[in-house]
Structures are given as C-alpha cells and as structure tokens.
Subunit: 359 residues, 2 copies
C-alpha cells in the first residue's frame, strides 16, 4: 500500500533534500549591527545553514529564553534566518490523548523521510510547564524518528502563557526552515486553546480521531473539527477496520455540511494505522493535493501573509500582557480577585478596574 | 402549533414579569462613595429598577461612552446594578446576513413577550462603526417588537475594538437584567470574531441556517456550528418545507458526530418560519429543556462563574491593549508596519519589537 518508491513527487516547493546554499550576505549585514554579539549569532546562523542539529537545538533554546539579552540576540538570529525561511509545509497535528499522536507522527514522519523529506517536529503544550507531562517530552516514544538523521524532534517550550509558548514555537519554525527542513509538524494536545494558535501558524490542519462515531472526540474542544483540513481515523487495524470505514463514511457526510473553507478545499476523511503502517501514502498525496490547490488559487500565500500580520499583533499583545501579569503585585492579587469574581462577590469590571489600579 | 396559551411555564428562574423589587440599600452604599455624582447615578439606578426604558437607554449610553469620567460613573452604576442582575437567560443568536435574523428575532421575541417574558435585544457588531450598516441599527426592521412595551431593542455599540464592543455589551446585559428583563438576546453577524465573544457571555447559543445542506453556511466562520446548542433551519415555509426537513435530518446526524459539550446537552436541530410563525413554541420549549438540564447538573452556574472570570481578564486585556493601540505613534506606524509584514519585507517579531520600542 504505502510504497515509498511511488512517492517521488515533492511535498513542497523545494524538491528533495534542501542543500545548504551559500550564506546570503544580507544576513551578515543584519548581524553586523551588533558587533559584540555577532560572532556567536553568526556561528549559530552558519551552523543552522549547514544543517547542524546541535546548533539548531541551541538556537531554539535561545529563542525560548526569557532573558532580555537572549531575546535581543534571538531577534537578530531570526531576522538573519528569515530570508531562508518559508520553504516548508507547516502541518498542525492534533487529537486527544490516547489517539496515538506519537506513533502516528513517528510512522508518518518515517514515511516522509524515506521519500527524501527533512522533517522537523515541534509542539505546543502550554500546560507542560505545570504538569511536567509534556507531549514529546519523552523522545523514546518516537525512538525511530529521533534517531533518523533527516528528522529533528523538539519538545514543547515549557511554561509561560499560551501566547509566549506559541510565539516561541513560531520562531522555531523559522529556524527549522532555515536549517533546510522542508516539512514541519506542530503537534498540540487538542483539548485547550492551543489549537487556535497552531491553526494560525500552519498551512494544513490534521485532526486524528479514533473509530466509533463521537467516542474519539470525547474531551476535544468544540470547533476543532470545523477547522480541520483532514480527519484521519487512526488505529484502523485488526477488528477496528470495519468500524473505521463506517466512521469515515459518517464523517465525510458530516463534513459536507460544514461551512466551506476560504481555501476552496473540501475537508477529507481518511483511515490509517501506525501499527500496520497503512494509509500513510494516501495522507501524503492528500496533503500534496491540498498544496497544489491552494498554491494554484493563491490561498496558501494569502493565508501566510495574514498569519504574519496576525503574529505581529499577537507578539505585541503577548508582550504587553505578559509584562502586566508578571508584575509581582498583579501576580499576588490575581488569584484572590478571580475567586471573588467566581463566587459573585464582585463583578468582572470592578475587579478588572481594581487590578488595573494596582499598577 | 405555536399556541401562547400552552406556554405558561417560565423560561427562567423568575416566573412571569419581573416586578421591580425594593432598592437594595447596598446599592446606595456603593454610590455614596462618590457624592458629587451620586445623584445622577442614583437616579439612573432608580429609573432602571422602576423599569424606565428611556433611563435604561441612557444608562447604556453611559456604559458605551469612552470618556474617562463616564467610565467611572458607569462602573459605579454597574456595581449598584449587580445585586439585581443574573436572573435572565442570555441567548446568543447568530447567522449569516440573509438568513432572516431580524424577522426571526421579531417573531420569536413576540412569542416570548406574549407568554409574559420581558425581552431585551442587544447586538455585537464590531464592524458597525466602519460600515454604518449596523445590525439592528434600523429598528424599523423589527417594528412590532420595537413597539412592544415588554421588549427593549438596542443596536450594537459602534466602533472600537471587538474587546471594547463586547465589554460594553456585557455591561449592558447587567443593566437590562437589573431593569427586570428576564430574557436577553445577543445578536451577532456570524462572519467574524464576535461569535466567540457572544458565546462567552451567553448561556445558550442559537445558530440560524437556511435550507439546503451547506448553502446557508457560505461565509460563516468555521467552528460556529460546533459551538451551537441549537440549529434552527429558518424560512421553512412554502416550497422550502421539504428541503428544510431533509436538512434537519442531515444536520441532526452530523451533530451526533461532534465533540460532546461539557454541558451534557446534545445540540438539537429544529425548523422554523417567521413568515408563517411556525416552530417558535418548539424552540421555546427546547431552550427550557436546556435550562432544566444545565441548572440540574450545575453546568449553568459553573459556566457563568467561569464567564465572569473570563470577562475580568478580557476587561484588563482590552484596557491594556486599547491604551497601546490608541497611542497616536502606534496608530500612525501600524498600517505601514502591517504592510511590510504582509509583503514579507520584515518578520512578525521584528515588526512587533519595533512597534513596542515606539512607546
């Protein structure tokens, strides 16, 4: 079924493995503005452009840092990487815990690397700081992919606001693209606010589901199905195959009733098994069809442009709000104020006004 | 079919028409803090509590004002009204232009007032400032309801950010409830961001659709169907009836595949015609069933508590962001910066950083 030999068409604009091109002199020009830091940032840029995974990892650590001096350096590095970015397809992958996201990413990821793609796997999980149960935190769950020289796996940045975590991931996408990765997965856990963030930084949104109508969606946030470009009914193997096929027909029917997407694409339902490695080639070609359609009708480019503007606003907003909520006075007063509002002892607007007066 | 005589069960906790109760002394205590303004705010509170529509309208105008001194006075008034608020069912109503929202609100609204309810109709349309095509702006579209002494219709506050418009509407809900309105409709146009805001300030979300699978949803934002507690297929009259019934079956099937709501409620599909005044009683009893279920399992109260906390955060955020984006330097620089980002001449993060440096 899934024969890598038949998969010689490119998923994205850059066919095959991206070769590290000569470094654009413009990048150095940007870096020259800060001579005291240019050595290290330049070294990082060179490393990234030469495909060094350890240096890419180090650069992402820089992007994730909350230290002011690191933020500046990270900004320079991203500006320098920008001319080399954009040449990937960015795929959001979501699904509730238990749907088999890790095994799916491993199996589909191996399929992509086996046909010549370079794959970076990132994640957004704002809860990971609190629960220490970060998705992707345990790379051993993706052992084969983690040891694949064509793949790069990075756990979710931990802690902080969703805005902060999302910002870091979006910046990491740029670094990964500059490092020659032509496919980027952004994984999210599908039960909170983070899917909207992932949706607004990806070209294609894939929702993993289980067989059994409705069952597999227990706990997933409402609205996600309608955002998805592809529903994959996972674990379609063994005695599950028939149920998966029934679910496929049901969901395909339901999706036709959904509001149409401005992309012109009709969301698709497929079945797949990571255990038996089936369905992967069809998912791959479906994504290719989506790319062909949306590059043809220019939706792809329009969406990316709008996403960039969106992220400029998000960055500004995140900065302003983080500064406010990180203030010790606010941090101190907030829980009590939330409690009072929740118990109806004060109204939202008086509480907000009191909080604002603290600064 | 829709016989008002059979509709003597109450939609909400307070049966029948809310009688203006004696004014709570706590309200005056709150007002006493600002003696120089207490007269006028007190007069407004008294007027609202006595069910004076002109004074309610004036109070909403105060809430909508952006003047600093009005904001303070509005805050006092809302605090004073708070003890009398909460006793309504808040219903969000959305649907694309052309679906017949105004005629539906008029027909369903008349049905509610005819069985003894007092109905306030508000709206959120952040675009109304720009386009001057405000929904509800033209009360003549709801002539019968506008002349009904048991109904109060208020157009969307105009202009400003979505956050600002939404905040004003949410404050107006409190004033309407204090004035004894036991049912509040919040109408939205269904094509932008405002449904999420409406969803987060209402107890029940109603999506109006047209017959013809999918057709009626052209242009509606993805995610809204999944947020809805009730889909009403409107204009189910004349030669449309059969198509409406078919659409009902299709959508009812599709909704069963959706992620389940934490309310424990399974979204319902009904048909209705405002032209022939059919289906209204069934919509009414369905909302009652929803209320019974969610008050029984406490979801109703939990959701309201979480919505209050949400709105505290939204109020703070809106205040901080509005102050930033209203700064003349930012206002001046923003369009050019957005253009540069859209055209890929700079990245989102450098642009954000440049904007932040302007202040």
């Amino acid at each position: 079924m899934d024969s890598p030999k038949n998969s010689n068409s490119a998923l994205i604009v850059n066919k095959g493995i991206a070769q590290p091109p000569a470094i654009n002199p413009r990048a150095f020009q940007i870096l020259k503005k800060r001579p005291e830091k240019s050595l290290s940032t330049t070294a990082l840029l060179e490393g990234i452009r030469n495909g060094s995974t350890p240096l890419l990892a180090q650069a992402i650590t820089l992007v994730e840092s909350t230290l002011e001096k690191d933020r500046e350096k990270a900004g320079d590095l991203i500006s320098a990487c920008l001319p080399y970015s954009g040449n990937s397809i960015r795929i959001g992958i979501t699904g509730v815990p238990g749907v088999g996201k890790s095994t799916f990413i491993e199996t589909f990821g191996k399929h992509l690397t086996s046909v010549g793609h370079k794959l970076a796997v990132l994640a957004i999980d704002p809860s990971s700081g609190k629960t220490k149960g970060s998705i992707l935190g345990d790379k051993t769950r993706m052992e084969t992919l983690a040891n694949d020289p064509r793949a790069f796996i990075r756990p979710s940045p931990s802690g902080g606001s969703l805005g902060g975590v999302a910002r870091k991931t979006r910046e990491s996408v740029i670094l990964c693209e500059a490092a020659g990765f032509d496919t980027v997965f952004i994984e999210t856990v599908g039960v909170g606010q983070s899917e909207t963030a992932v949706h607004s930084m990806t070209d294609f949104f894939l929702l993993l589901m289980l067989t059994g109508a409705g069952d597999g969606l227990q706990g997933i946030k409402r609205g996600i199905m309608e955002m998805s470009d592809l529903l994959v009914i996972h674990k379609a193997d063994g005695s599950n195959i028939e149920k998966a096929m029934q679910a496929k027909v049901l969901y395909q029917g339901a999706l036709q009733l959904f509001p149409s997407s401005p992309s012109g694409w009709t969301p698709t339902v497929l079945t797949a098994s990571s255990l038996e490695n089936t369905g992967m080639e069809k998912i791959y070609t479906t994504i290719q069809e989506y790319m062909q359609l949306t590059k043809g009708n220019k939706f792809f480019y329009k969406q990316r442009a709008e996403q960039s503007v969106h992220w400029m606003r998000e960055s500004v907003d995140d900065h302003l709000l983080t500064r406010f909520y990180n203030n010790p006075r606010i941090k101190n007063a907030l829980p009590e104020m939330e409690k009072k509002v929740r118990e109806g002892k004060t109204d939202s607007f008086s509480a907000a006004s009191e909080l604002l007066k603290l600064l």
